[in-house]
């Protein structure tokens, strides 16, 4: 209640102090300096010789990790695909594990936290700023980051906490503290510090990318469908935010499981509808696909009119890929850690499919639809989800409404998932307890209102900054613990290759 009151007082002060500006503008003005400062730090550009454009530090950090892990684990992202599919299908799950969390469920839960606006809005942003070529780099980044995801999710299961009452808590906080202490006793204090830093950033990510960005884009699509600038809803973002905050509050505070359960069932359906609609548009225009692929490949190496040229387009693609699949960020390790298995590496192998579905499949479809329908031409200042909406609309006039439902549901499910990640980080910092949990849950809600009220750029920068900052402590830990993962993988892979793994078909 306290934080809610503070938030109300905060809003009231602003209403009083600015009779002329709308509430949305006021909130936007208050948040923008903060998000600017944060993104300046996270996206510090490392200057490159010979070109004007530098590489944002965090993007380099993620890409280097993805390449290193791909090489270190011997292209696990490619060679394990078939076996991972068997794991997801339940081919290696013993029948006495019925009723436990399956590999499929852990993957689906993690996906519902990542598949969302990053795929629909993020691709549109990359393509509108970087041209078709940005797609190529997004796909490449998606493929490479599968290896990062593999490593972090294996560690998430290996070092999770299992409590006496049968519940589990896992994620980077635990492998950073427990794993580093076990493998490198002298670095124990470092592990503890990294875990705390991660937890702090994760709370920020939950507020920024998990809630603010989601409601922001959901409202933007709502405006778009109801008439854009002229929409009667324009300027009422805060009201929309209040509505969403109320629903989220019902689930995370009121414990109304039915809403969460309905969302958990409808979200995958919406994802399938989205993919089918995208594929239909692509098939209807199959004759244009070679040209679109040509434009993607051509634009990837010879971009025209893109700020920063080749380096600029590479950075855009990699940045949006990182934001969409969150590999290296560590969030998925929290979701994957609940699976029931005695071989942690199996969950890492299952997690390979996350960036594959999220970035490689869904993002490619979105990009192809945008390019094929020619929506890029004369897009002007249409950005984010509005561009995707326009592309799908040119084939199916009713699609913006479907997309609205999809965006609302994706936003909602991602908010629920991230509020859980944030909560786990919060309880890691302050300890378990009902009151402590409530304090966190109440502080998530004002962020939803703020997110719906401010403009895309400032939300985007804040969200990007917070979520990507999580990769700093997380990847240091994954580097330190990579030999553990490699050992587990080698013994598991030897069992698999020699046919010692029992199958149940």
């Amino acid at each position: 209640m306290i934080s809610l009151r503070i938030a109300l007082a905060f809003c009231a002060t602003f209403i009083a102090s600015s009779a002329h500006a709308t509430l949305d503008e006021v909130i936007d003005r208050a948040i923008s300096p903060l998000s600017d400062a944060l993104s300046a730090a996270i996206f510090y550009e490392i200057p490159l010789p010979m070109v004007d454009q530098g590489v944002p530090f965090i993007v380099a950090w993620l890409v280097i990790a993805a390449v290193v892990f791909t090489l270190y684990f011997g292209f696990i992202n490619l060679r394990a695909m078939r076996h991972s599919f068997g794991l997801i299908r339940g081919r290696y799950t013993p029948p006495d594990a019925v009723g436990e969390v399956t590999h499929f469920q852990a993957l689906a839960t993690a996906l519902s936290g990542t598949v969302g606006l990053g795929n629909i809005a993020g691709v549109a942003i990359a393509v509108s700023l970087g041209g078709p070529g940005a797609t190529f780099w997004m796909i490449l980044a998606g493929l490479l980051s599968m290896s990062t995801k593999f490593a972090e999710c294996t560690l998430g299961v290996k070092y999770r906490n299992e409590y006496a009452d049968g519940t589990v808590s896992g994620g980077p906080m635990y492998y950073l503290s427990k794993g580093i202490a076990e493998q490198h006793p002298r670095l124990k204090p470092l592990g503890k510090i990294l875990a705390v830093v991660f937890a702090v950033f994760c709370i920020g990510g939950a507020i920024g990318a998990g809630t603010m960005f989601q409601t922001n884009q959901a409202f933007s699509q709502l405006l778009n469908v109801t008439g854009g600038e002229a929409s009667p809803l324009n300027g009422f973002g805060w009201l929309f935010g209040l509505g969403i905050a109320f629903l989220v509050g019902m689930v995370i505070i009121g414990g109304i499981k039915s809403i969460a359960r309905v969302t958990a069932k409808v979200v995958p359906t919406m994802a399938i509808v989205y993919v089918v609609a995208g594929l239909t548009i692509i098939l209807l225009n199959i004759d244009q696909v070679p040209a679109a692929v040509g434009a993607i490949l051509d634009g990837a190496f010879r971009p025209e009119g893109v700020a920063g040229g080749l380096i600029g387009v590479i950075i855009l693609g990699f940045r949006r890929a990182a934001f969409s699949n969150e590999a290296g960020v560590g969030s998925a390790a929290i979701a994957h850690s609940a699976v029931r298995t005695d071989r942690p590496v199996t969950e890492g192998l299952v997690a390979l499919y996350e960036p594959l579905i999220d970035t490689v499949v869904i993002c490619t479809i979105t990009a192809l639809v945008i390019i094929i329908t020619g929506s890029l031409v004369g897009a002007g200042d249409i950005e984010g989800v509005a561009l995707t909406s326009r592309a799908f609309e040119s084939a199916f006039s009713w699609f913006p409404y479907v997309l609205l439902v999809a965006v609302l549901l994706f936003a909602f499910s991602t908010t629920i998932a991230w509020s859980y990640y944030g909560l786990k980080s919060w309880t890691y910092l302050v300890g378990e307890g009902k009151t402590k949990e409530l304090i966190f849950k109440f502080s998530i809600l004002p962020a939803i209102v703020v997110g719906a009220s401010i403009n895309l750029t400032s939300v985007m920068d804040f969200a990007d900054g917070m979520i990507l900052a999580m990769a700093l402590p997380n990847l240091i830990g994954v580097y330190l613990l990579a030999p553990v993962v490699k050992k587990e993988l080698q013994s598991y892979w030897a069992d698999y290759k020699s046919g010692r793994l029992q199958t149940y078909d």
């Binding site: 339940g90 799950t93 019925v98 009723g99 436990e100 969390v101 399956t102 499929f104 469920q105 852990a106 689906a108 839960t109 519902s112 936290g113 009452d165 049968g166 519940t167 589990v168 808590s169 499981k257 969460a260 359960r261 958990a264 069932k265 979200v267 995958p268 929290i334 979701a335 609940a338 699976v339 029931r340 629920i416 998932a417 859980y420 990640y421």
Partner: protein, 143 residues
């Protein structure tokens, strides 16, 4: 000694199936296996919070199934001095009953016609009709 497998689900229908099974087992000197399948699919969707608590919930579900559902029925059968065992497990009800019948070489599966909610069974077919289509042994459907 032949074995009859009885599917129970906590409903009145399940008890009627058991009544029929008791009568038959008494006449033919057979054993009974009471099975309660908790509907569960490895391919359903859940929230992160549900996943974190899943193992605990599973143990709770099994404990309740044993103490509240199976135990009273087992005692009822034992009172008639018919040998009986009980089993609670997660899975797809019809498929699970069929595979357990095969595993235990059951002579017959006995289930009630109703059990599922009417709308659901209208669209997807109830457990009883699924069993009559797929089971490897005779199925007795009790009204």
């Amino acid at each position: 000694m032949s074995l009859y497998l009885v599917g129970i689900d906590g409903s009145a229908g399940g008890e009627r199936a058991l009544e029929a099974a008791i009568a038959m087992a008494g006449e033919s000197q057979s054993r009974l296996l009471l099975v309660y399948v908790i509907a569960w699919s490895p391919f359903s969707f859940s929230t992160p919070e549900e996943n974190a608590e899943r193992h605990r919930r599973r143990e709770e579900e099994l404990a309740i199934a044993h103490s509240k559902l199976l135990q009273p029925l087992l005692e009822k059968v034992q009172a008639q001095s018919i040998p009986v065992e009980g089993l609670a497990t997660h899975g797809h009800p019809a498929r699970k009953l069929a595979s357990l019948a095969e595993e235990h070489a059951a002579r017959m599966i006995i289930v009630a016609r109703s059990g599922d909610k009417p709308i659901k069974s209208r669209f997807f077919g109830g457990t009883a009709s699924a069993l009559t289509q797929s089971a490897g042994c005779p199925v007795l459907v009790v009204p």
